[in-house]
């Protein structure tokens, strides 16, 4: 570090943000060069929570490796599991019962809402407003309770398995989700009253951290980050997987490309997810929740890729199989990794205060970046 201080220019100083810092929400380390309060350069230093899940997966069977992926993007464990299950099912050509499909989408969308809730509270906290966090957790708690009842876990659920879901939904599931929909709809307006309309908040968010459409594509940003810049990239819409093709929902797009646009995209996405849940909750078909599969899964030789939409963007699972019971090589294309690479471009010339605001709108989950 001392060398870098020596090489920094006159009037510039280098500051380490993280790995222990309240705004990085995890063990992210950013080396920022400051001129006064203005950020001249930013370099992320990753790996503080790198567990080499890709290497671990190489010695785990196709039933086991899914459990490691819950620990990647821990706010969207269901969707990570879903991506892996889909890849295995695609490779083995397993037909999934309709009931399992519907349950999968329901829990995925609940996860998406829970993830966006947490992001909403955490981002407001980054901006110095501490109260929204508790309001966000009020709703998120209900979702985690529902998950606990059905999956047995609150965070790393490990609910989806190749062939369907691990267990049938709890008898209370439908009623509790319906109650949640009513509760959520009456309270989403509170969010706007508390945060969205606040003039300080808008001043902090508008025209800050602008990412143009071209840059958003070039940096490989996905999810709400790219959709805030007007890039249509919702995998559920453009490459529909599972039964998303049959559902009615809108892809939320904003064109401004600033922090406020990304904020709006996520808040509106929560409403879209609620509408998906509403379409499905009354129409859960009867039947099996899991297809009959062999005890030991063997993928045919070849390469399989599955893209899914997590709350943070596009997650890709790339499996190279040699025909055995374990993958030869597995690669997780995590959304946060690419979104983070755009941070330097977005933050240059802004103040330190904006760093946390922009980082907040990227919705970084560090284990997802490091894997």
């Amino acid at each position: 570090m001392f060398e870098e201080v020596a090489t920094s220019k006159e009037g510039e100083q280098i500051i380490n943000v993280g790995p222990q810092h309240p705004a990085t929400h995890g063990v992210l380390h950013l080396i920022i060069t400051l001129n006064g309060e203005t950020i001249v350069n930013l370099e992320p230093n990753l790996g503080y929570i790198h567990r080499s899940i890709e290497k671990m997966c190489e010695s785990l069977s196709y039933r086991q490796f899914i459990y490691t992926t819950s620990r990647m993007d821990y706010l969207a464990a269901h969707i990570n599991n879903h991506a892996c299950a889909l890849t295995v099912e695609k490779a083995m050509q397993i037909e999934i019962p309709e009931r399992a499909e519907v349950i999968r989408i329901l829990v995925s969308e609940l996860t998406r809402i829970a993830s966006h809730e947490l992001w909403w509270g955490a981002m407001a906290m980054d901006l110095g407003a501490l109260s929204p966090f508790f309001y966000a957790f009020r709703e998120r708690e209900v979702i985690t309770d529902i998950m606990e009842e059905t999956c047995g876990a609150r965070l790393t659920m490990n609910y989806m398995v190749p062939g369907g879901v691990m267990a049938d939904i709890h008898p209370n599931f439908v009623k509790r989700v319906k109650d949640f929909i009513i509760q959520f709809k009456s309270r989403i307006d509170e969010y706007d009253q508390l945060v969205t309309g606040n003039i300080i908040f808008q001043n902090r968010m508008k025209n800050v951290g602008i990412l143009s459409k071209e840059d958003a594509i070039s940096y490989g940003t996905t999810g709400p980050t790219a959709r805030g810049s007007g890039v249509s990239c919702d995998i559920r819409k453009i490459y529909p997987y599972s039964i998303y093709g049959k559902l009615q929902f809108d892809e939320v797009l904003e064109t401004a490309g600033d922090s406020f646009a990304r904020y709006l995209v996520r808040v509106k996405e929560m409403k879209q997810s609620i509408s998906i849940i509403e379409q499905l909750i009354d129409n859960i078909p009867e039947g099996d929740f899991q297809a009959k599969t062999k005890a030991v899964l063997k993928l045919p030789k070849g390469e399989f890729y599955q893209r899914v939409e997590t709350p943070r963007g596009e997650l890709g699972v790339y499996i190279v199989s040699e025909g055995g019971t374990t993958p030869y090589r597995i690669k997780f294309r995590s959304p946060g990794f690419s979104n983070l690479s755009a941070l330097n471009h977005m933050i240059k010339g802004h103040k330190i205060g904006d760093l946390v605001a922009v980082m907040g709108t990227l919705d970084l989950v560090i284990p997802d970046i490091d894997r």
Binding site: S52, K55, G220, T222, Y318, R333, F337, S341, A342, H345
Partner: protein
């Protein structure tokens, strides 16, 4: 452009390369010396417009490395997979950091975990592991008895 159409087009432009239909998308295989030509063509041809590199990774085949590039076009929504063979003894390949900026971080990760040197990369250094780490963990011959427990 559909997959068949894309394969025909690629076969026409790059007749010496191997182009087959993979499980999802067309797969184009070639040697590392042609990478920049192919990428430039794929990105700049208006009817292809592959402007989005959504996955870049590497597979260690013990005799050689395969760099795998997944490309998407945000305009036409067609995809292609590039498989580029590189030498295992002296793994070097051109960097795409100036074509797709997302490649910069992806290539740092691949350099870190596979040890592939990207020529022309603006900031090629380890990203996950510490600078003094010896070896490249995702290679098949990597042994680490302390940190990795074999099952």
């Amino acid at each position: 452009m559909g997959n068949e159409e894309l394969i025909l087009k690629l076969k026409e432009v790059f007749p010496e390369m191997d182009c087959v239909q993979g499980n999802d998308w067309p797969e184009l295989s070639f040697g590392s010396d042609r990478l920049i030509d192919v990428i430039t063509y794929l990105k700049q041809t208006p009817e292809l417009a592959f402007d989005y590199l959504f996955c870049e990774t590497c597979v260690d085949w013990k005799t050689h490395f395969n760099m795998v590039y997944h490309l998407d076009s945000t305009r036409y929504r067609h995809n292609v997979v590039l498989k580029v063979k590189t030498d295992r003894e002296k793994p070097e390949i051109a960097s795409l950091a100036h074509v797709y900026r997302t490649a910069e971080q992806h290539e740092r990760e691949i350099f870190d975990l596979f040890g592939i040197v990207f020529l022309g990369h603006p900031n090629l250094k380890r990203i996950m592991l510490t600078e003094e780490w010896v070896g490249y963990p995702l290679r098949k011959d990597y042994e680490d008895p302390i940190n990795i427990i074999k099952l």
